[in-house]
Symmetry: C2
Subunit: 132 residues, 2 copies
């Protein structure tokens, strides 16, 4: 994607601002609802298009945790995610440099070049542990 020829539209600005306000890793639809409070006429398609551009240009992360829908994250520095199997919440897991370690383990195990490693966790979050 060509990130030089993108324009700073107000809609894109608000989408990114609202994404930065939360740590809940919203879906496109959830973010659409949040953005609509400020821009009642924005369309869901515009939210999708802007999330696509923002994540392609390094200003957001697109997450797929196997739920059948994507989530988005304004925190672009390396970290992992844990999805709670009880309440569905997605929380951040602090970064430890697993990627390089994994690549070292797998290196030489086949004739392919690894460009990225996806790691995510499933488990039970702090709150759901307390409830039980």
């Amino acid at each position: 994607m060509d990130c030089e020829n993108t324009r700073n539209t107000y809609q894109r600005k608000v989408v990114l601002e609202e994404l930065k306000k939360t740590t809940a890793h919203p879906t496109a639809d959830e973010l659409y609802e949040a953005v609509r409070k400020r821009l009642p006429n924005i369309s869901l398609g515009t939210v999708y298009r802007n999330l696509e551009i923002l994540s392609a240009c390094g200003q957001a992360l697109k997450l797929d945790l196997g739920e059948g829908k994507k989530r988005f994250d304004a925190t672009t520095k390396p970290h992992y995610h844990l999805r709670c199997i009880k309440c569905g919440k997605v929380i951040d897991v602090p970064y430890v440099p697993l990627d390089k370690e994994i690549e070292n383990h797998v290196k030489g195990m086949g004739n392919f070049k690894i460009t990225s490693v996806q790691v995510h966790f499933e488990g039970i979050c702090e709150e759901c542990l307390k409830k039980k």
Copy 2:
């Protein structure tokens, strides 16, 4: 899921047989096309239902590699997957016990209980490396 009260229908048998014939990690639709050569009247819904039952009962794996569709694998023993970013092919990566190692790294880094770790790789497969 209740795996005791399942019946051995011919459709389910053929779905599993066709899945076992390939290492290409087919999607439900791709498997539907393969099965249809033997059972021209089978429906896509039946393929989905059987893949759901087979994976829930440990006879197949359901994979989500972030493509917006699920893939299926008759190899249920532990291994990883690499999706080629050039040709889209999914190939097996031999198992090394990354899961436990990762859990050891992350253990104690937050108040949550990890129940599973998903790891998958993106990269370039042998054939596409040669082409370049």
